[in-house]
């Protein structure tokens, strides 16, 4: 379970985030929806523990995973090593199984630069789910994919979430993505930004 209790977040003298409190239970997928520039990335970085300079408190599981908008792979390591370097204690068999699960079983020896963008994103998904995370954060992980590819990615992600049951926080500006994956949708708006339950117009 992820418990977020942010009181405020400033960049210099500008307050970007106001009072933001919510929880994501295990197995639940919460989408935070908002236009670009509203502070979604800031919120995500705080929840992920990347940014610790804020007022408030976030409780998250030890075992977290993240999927970024960019695949964020180690281009200088092979596809298989990209999994093994990040999860050194899980072993080669688990890494092979994770590649198999996302349909990259034959690509283990390639470098990420030899994969298509869709394959790179599937590798990022494999990396995230391989460690059986209790908490998962997804940052616009499906933007700039063509509709057919996005659909495949949604289906794959949904079944991976169903298998692993992490507390998932999904940050996006795309209502279709939120509706496809989330069990609950919140909107981030205002300045400083605060959360409210999303009401479909």
């Amino acid at each position: 379970m992820i418990t977020v209790g942010i009181r405020s977040k400033f960049f210099g003298a500008t307050q970007v985030l106001g009072d933001i409190s919510f929880t994501v239970a295990g197995g639940e997928t919460v989408a935070v929806l908002g236009p670009s520039g509203v502070g979604k990335s800031t919120l995500l970085r705080i929840v992920a523990g990347i940014d610790t300079d804020f007022d408030g408190r976030v409780d998250r599981p030890e075992n977290m995973a993240i999927v970024f908008q960019e695949p964020t792979l180690l281009r200088w390591r092979s596809v298989l090593d990209n999994l093994m370097v990040v999860h050194p204690d899980l072993g080669r068999d688990r890494a092979m199984a994770a590649l198999e699960r996302v349909g990259l079983a034959s690509k283990g020896a390639d470098y990420p630069g030899q994969l298509s963008l869709g394959q790179q994103r599937r590798l990022a998904l494999a990396r995230a789910f391989m460690g059986r995370p209790e908490g998962l954060i997804m940052d616009e992980a499906f933007v700039s994919l063509d509709p057919a590819l996005a659909k495949t990615m949604f289906d794959l992600t949904r079944s991976l979430i169903a298998e692993t049951q992490p507390a998932t926080l999904l940050v996006t500006h795309d209502i279709a993505e939120a509706e496809a994956l989330a069990t609950r949708i919140l909107s981030l708006s205002g300045s400083p930004a605060t959360l409210s339950e999303h009401t479909s117009a």
Partner: protein
């Protein structure tokens, strides 16, 4: 002329041609001997074992100074590139040391520490650290923050991050620093030997300079150039190809 591999060979042949013409015009082997005039002194130095002994002494100093300068410069450059406050404090020092003439550092090291091996290697190392630091700092500033965030969330260990995330991104900068490092260090090592050591190529050049023996000076200089070319072709270039492999895949 169509084979690009021929170009460097022809280029070097041209240099030898220039040497032969210049030596013929000079007409005095005391001032500039013909290339083949170096064969006899070379064989003599090889037979006596002097050439190998002095080449070895110089090479050992180069290896020490190179290792220390690369290690310390890498650590300092990474720290300065990633910590802006540390950089603000140390940057003026860096500028001062970058502009300190090599000779001044060498003389000061000898004066303060004495004419010892430690002073010699320290002088060369101190001369090279600022350059390495400057190059590495540029690389450290260009590190991808997104990869840092990824490593943080997945709780990768310090060593794993250094090995799999930081150093591979730094590889082009490390190679650049190493390449210019080797070239500069061996030249400074010769000066250090010239001024205060009793072994090494620099010492021998000093000796034959006092004896006005141009042929011997050239024998030692060219021998060491050959050693450094071997280092470049047998160590640096294969290593560079290895770390760049993923780019061409």
């Amino acid at each position: 002329m169509t084979d690009p591999r021929l170009t460097p060979i022809l280029s070097i042949a041209g240099l030898f041609g220039l040497w032969i013409v210049a030596a013929a015009l000079t007409g005095d082997p005391q001032v500039l001997p013909q290339p083949w005039g170096l064969a006899a002194p070379l064989v003599q130095e090889l037979r006596s074992g002097e050439l190998i002994r002095h080449l070895g002494a110089t090479l050992l100093r180069v290896v020490w100074a190179f290792g220390l300068a690369m290690g310390l410069g890498l650590a300092l450059g990474l720290a300065m590139g990633r910590l802006p406050r540390l950089n603000a404090w140390l940057d003026p020092w860096l500028v001062i040391f970058l502009n300190l003439p090599a000779l001044v550092l060498i003389v000061l090291c000898y004066l303060w520490i004495g004419l010892t091996e430690t002073a010699a290697i320290l002088a060369v190392t101190l001369n090279k650290i600022p350059n390495v630091t400057t190059v590495i700092r540029e690389g450290a500033r260009a590190l991808d923050p997104q990869l840092d965030a990824m490593a943080h969330v997945y709780r990768m260990g310090r060593l794993a991050r250094l090995r799999h995330i930081v150093l591979p991104q730094m590889a082009p900068f490390i190679t650049a620093a190493a390449r210019s490092g080797v070239a500069v260090i061996w030249k400074i090592v010769l000066v250090v030997e010239f001024l205060g050591r009793s072994s090494g190529v620099g010492f021998q050049i000093h000796l034959y300079f006092q004896l006005f023996d141009v042929a011997m000076v050239l024998v030692y200089a060219l021998s060491f150039i050959c050693v450094m070319l071997a280092v470049e072709w047998l160590l640096l270039q294969p290593w560079e190809r290895r770390v760049r492999r993923w780019r061409s895949a």
